[in-house]
């Protein structure tokens, strides 16, 4: 790996790196999750909010602090030092081992999602600096097939964990996913074991892994790498769980309590370390990376 030497020299100069200023405004485009129009109805508090106001506020509702879903690219802008991200494994694309077809074939569905999202898969990964600290970074994008984990997501997460071991740098994963990707059947299920084993190796090597849970994180992603962080952070009001609320409601045949599976619910039940506002996330990561160097 050619990048090895540079990265090690960076390690030494970590604290002296300049802190890059970023444009802290996220433009909503057709890929964004916020609906079209000048005014937007908040999913959480149902208030009508001026779109510009949300954009200025990092896509966070100014009325209730609901954090709208943002694309992986937008997330990258918010988290890493400008120009420091090197994308890796960006050319991996899914096969179709089951020859799966619902209303259209899986191959067509992939193509459709690639066009819609501008991404090849539900995750981008690579090396980056966070306030000068080198990290392996993985960011999921919910707009690509609901951020579902198939072979490519499993492979990219595993590779990122292995790279963290090789380069002796922390791993940071930003999760947002509906769970395993049904269209890849047993292959997607087995990715859960694969990524968990990779995280296991990371831990054995004493390398820090910070998991960040965003709205929503469910199923096979929660039940594998997302809940295995040494430190687990959630964005405010994010819906996080194993089974989806509708499935639970149908099973127990009673309404779910207020705030069920929201970030604060997980915090109260001792399942995550902290809930951090989007605007403070980069600072929090930098602090942790600095402390646990």
């Amino acid at each position: 790996m050619g990048g090895l030497i540079t990265r090690h020299s960076l390690l030494v100069t970590v604290v002296k790196m300049p802190w890059f200023k970023k444009t802290k405004e996220l433009k909503t485009d057709r890929k964004g999750k916020i609906p079209e129009g000048l005014w937007v109805k908040c999913d959480s508090c149902k208030e009508i909010v001026y779109r510009k106001e949300i954009e200025k506020n990092l896509k966070v509702c100014p009325k209730c602090n609901y954090h709208f879903r943002i694309s992986a690219r937008d997330r990258l802008k918010l988290l890493v030092d400008e120009g420091s991200f090197t994308e890796l494994d960006e050319n991996l694309v899914s096969g179709d081992p089951l020859h799966f077809k619902d209303t259209i074939s899986y191959k067509e569905r992939l193509k459709e999602n690639q066009q819609k999202s501008g991404l090849k898969e539900a995750v981008i990964s690579g090396d980056a600096l966070i306030k000068g600290h080198p990290v392996s970074l993985v960011i999921m994008d919910f707009s690509f097939m609901g951020g579902s984990m198939g072979s490519v997501v499993g492979e990219k997460v595993s590779k990122a964990a292995e790279r963290s071991i090789e380069e002796n740098q922390p791993l940071i994963i930003v999760a947002s996913s509906g769970g395993a990707r049904m269209q890849e059947g047993i292959f997607s299920l087995m990715q859960m074991a694969k990524v968990s084993a990779a995280i296991g190796r990371l831990k054995e090597n004493g390398i820090l892994y910070i998991s960040i849970l965003c709205d929503p994180t469910f199923g096979g992603v929660t039940a594998s790498f997302a809940m295995l962080g040494d430190i687990i952070i959630a964005e405010p009001k994010s819906l996080i769980g194993f089974a989806g609320p509708r499935v639970i409601e149908q099973t127990i045949k009673q309404p779910l309590p207020e705030g069920f599976q929201r970030a604060d619910f997980l915090l109260e039940h001792g399942l995550i370390d902290m809930v951090v506002d989007r605007k403070n996330l980069e600072d929090m990561l930098a602090k942790l990376l600095d402390l646990l160097r």
Partner: protein, 325 residues
């Protein structure tokens, strides 16, 4: 004996009823119908063999969920001696949907555990239909760690519709419990052998099957989602989905033992007696013993470090993707 016949077994049921009728008529009377009975018995066998060699994926699911199918404890009773059941996760509760403990198989000490479904309404409920809560996964991990400590191989039986979706399960970290099992099993320094004996329901099944050897009974299934769940997501039109959709989903998901062997996800298929495991539980149990003993012998020859290394590679290579130029 009252037998439970599946829908597609109806022609078999009719013939078997006829045989019983003939036997009853000839019983204690002069008329000898044994020739006729023999002819019919041969016909039943042929019919059964034909039906069971061409089961559709959905039919396999029905066989895997057959109420008479042997469950974990049935096999434990048949294949082990000195079974000592252990209880609880030492944190919250003893989850009755999973049983486990030390035992001997052909004199070899092992840790054996698995999901347990119930028979009859009361036991079904107390076993929670084989759906584990987080404490079930934590109990399993505790037992597996004990096995590691005392250098005994771990045998797990998989038979669950999935991990339980409920309020308490979420409050106590269902996802975390499964995730930790996946990670810890991948590093356990003792052999792990897993066998899907019935239903392998998604993450709830995987949480007990990160193993060095993974086998499936001939009519068992293992899937990322149930066909019902899959059909509901894909084809729910105003809520009316039925057997036809489930059948289609079961086919699309490629969840049979035969599919998984073709995908090289499992190591082998353990044959079932004609008509399914429940037709001759002892025969099935004998086959299970054979596979387990062979696997233990092979795996015990490896050092713990080699075992863990090979287990890592085994899962690491699973995936279907390509690199675009």
């Amino acid at each position: 004996m009252i037998r439970y016949y599946l829908e597609f077994e109806k022609p078999i049921e009719e013939l078997e009823l006829k045989i019983e009728e003939l036997k009853r008529i000839s019983d204690g009377k002069d008329i000898n119908l044994s020739g006729e009975v023999k002819k019919l018995e041969k016909k039943v066998k042929e019919l059964r063999s034909e039906i069971f060699s061409t089961l559709t994926p959905w039919q396999k699911i029905l066989v895997a969920r057959h109420p008479d199918r042997p469950y974990t404890l049935d096999y434990i009773n048949m294949i082990t001696t000195d079974f000592i059941e252990l209880h609880g996760d030492r944190r919250f509760a003893d989850d009755h949907s999973i049983v486990g403990g030390f035992a001997r198989i052909k004199d070899m000490p092992v840790m054996i555990l698995g999901q347990q479904k119930g028979r009859g309404t009361r036991e079904r409920i107390s076993r929670n239909f084989g759906q584990l809560h987080p404490e079930g996964y934590r109990k399993a991990l505790r037992l597996m760690k004990l096995a590691e400590k005392f250098k005994k191989p771990v045998i797990t039986f998989i038979d669950t519709p999935g991990a339980y979706p409920g309020i308490g399960a979420e409050e106590r970290g269902q996802a975390e419990a499964i995730a930790v099992n996946l990670m810890e099993m991948s590093r356990l320094k003792t052999p792990i052998i897993s066998i899907v004996i019935g239903e392998g329901g998604s993450g709830g099944a995987l949480g007990l099957s990160v193993a060095d050897r993974l086998y499936m009974l001939e009519h068992a299934v293992y899937s990322v989602i149930s066909p019902e769940g899959c059909a509901a997501i894909l084809w729910k039109r105003n809520g009316d989905i039925g057997t036809e959709d489930f059948s289609r989903a079961a086919y699309a998901l490629k969840l049979t033992a035969q599919d998984l062997l073709r995908f090289k996800i499992i190591d082998d298929i353990i044959p079932e007696p004609l008509g399914g495991a429940h037709r001759a539980p002892e025969v099935t149990a004998e086959k299970l013993t054979e596979y387990i003993v062979k696997a233990i012998e092979e795996l015990s020859a490896k050092t713990p470090a080699k075992l863990v290394e090979e287990r890592y590679k085994r899962f690491r290579k699973i995936g279907n993707f390509e690199e675009e130029g």
